[in-house]
């Protein structure tokens, strides 16, 4: 009985909804359109609910860490305190509350920007230490990268207009060609995955297994 609850019913629901949504996308039927719209509204509601579920999961996980005095538990306590404070301010007083906005702009915003800007440090360091013409392949990569870099530099591009076309060619021909391969490959992979789900060969999304149906 449990296999029916745990595997067969969820799989049947997934297959039915998947087929319906695929049909709704490709066929212009008013009935399918209405069904699709209703399902999409459900999905939006479920994903909104998932945010709440995520909050509960984080509180539970870090609550346990604090209770067990696990390693770095003060970090968990700090996380929970800031999370609760942020929630109380945001939900209780609204997102235009001055204190909420202050924390958002000066703590969350600044930390978020700092995290993103670390990428700049990595790139700079890598440019010096790793971006080297060790062989012919690396030299080709280096030259292409250098052309793109010069084309992206506003002042160099302003001084030499032809550089824009050169870097444009690198972007439009070799880069776009390889990008297209990745896009097509990913799309084929996605189609294969969807087909495997429809014929119940793929069960990994149900959890607890390797994903290959018996």
């Amino acid at each position: 009985m449990s296999i029916v609850y745990r595997r067969t019913i969820p799989l049947a629901i997934t297959v039915v909804f998947l087929v319906l949504m695929v049909c709704e996308y490709f066929f212009a039927s008013p009935v399918l359109k209405n069904v699709g719209l209703e399902m999409q509204s459900w999905a939006v509601l479920i994903s909104a609910f998932a945010v709440g579920l995520g909050v509960i999961t984080i509180l539970r996980h870090h609550g346990m860490r604090i209770a067990k005095r696990s390693e770095d538990w003060p970090m968990s306590a700090w996380l929970m305190a800031t999370m609760v404070l942020f929630m109380v301010l945001g939900i209780g007083f609204g997102q235009n509350n001055p204190m909420f906005k202050w924390i958002y702009d000066n703590v969350y915003g600044s930390l978020s920007s700092a995290t993103y800007s670390i990428l700049g440090l990595f790139i700079t360091s890598a440019a010096f230490r790793a971006f080297r013409a060790r062989n012919l392949d690396a030299a080709v990569l280096l030259i292409a990268g250098f052309i793109i870099l010069m084309g992206a530099t506003p002042t160099i591009a302003a001084l030499w207009e032809g550089l824009r076309y050169l870097s444009g060619w690198v972007m439009d021909v070799p880069t776009a060609a390889t990008g297209r391969v990745i896009v097509i490959g990913a799309a084929l992979g996605l189609i294969t995955l969807a087909l495997r789900i429809i014929i119940a060969k793929e069960t990994g999304f149900l959890g607890g297994g390797s994903g290959e149906a018996a």
């Binding site: 939006v44 360091s125 440019a127 010096f128 250098f146 506003p154 302003a158």
Partner: protein
Amino acid sequence: MSKWIRSNSVAVIYAVLFLITALPILSPLGLPISIGPTTRKFASIIDSLKKDDIVFVDINFSPGSWAENGPQLAVIMKHLWTKGVKVLFFSLAVDGPQMYMKAIGQATPPPSLKYGVDWVYLGYLSGAETAAAAITKDTWSLVKSDYFGTPLQNLPIMQKIRTAEDAQLLIVVTSGEMSWMWVRQWYERYRKTYLLAPISIMVPSGAPYQQAGQIAAILAGSRGAAEYEVLIAKPGEGATVTDALTMQLLYLMCLIIIGNVIFYTQRKGRRTSATGGI
């Protein structure tokens, strides 16, 4: 001294990077900017909009990428305000509402434009691609009120917007890979124009879609925003950081050259010592 620099090369690289980023922002150098073809195309598509045309704008980024997406959104807003179009803003990113508030603070609409009549903000819509599909198919079924809690029936602009069929253009300002799904949910489904304003690092990934015409034009990061500001003569944050961006990229090129010179010098030295100087 040179030994100290060699052993602390990373610290030295970071310190110089900090200086060449901070100094041009504190004291602008006024370096020239050239306007690229894609920025021109992006602006010309917005320019071609007629009065009362409807534009959907997805504010899909978080504060981390404000330096790139913020100037883009602000300059796009400034341009849209001049066209007399109706704009429906919404966010598929959870931080969207704060980004909208910050951007509209920088691109204040002229007094002749009224909220609810000329533009509206629907807030954050959870559900990613599902929400994108739903909002384009039937906006009213997904959203009942705007971000500020006003019911849609009380907003005059919303009387003209039901689906993506009513709109002429979609603009997505984003820092995430989720923007490619708009090709499926907007261009392929409704055959309407799609403009993308991503962070610079995403531009190569967008090249195949742009070549296929699925994305009409891409505005590349803060550099694109700066070019756009110059093009429509509305200076903003983008132009301010262009000097710093130029200096950073020049510095990056110098580092690559120095790194390669050191590499070849050392390799030559190793070969010479291996052959005993013969």
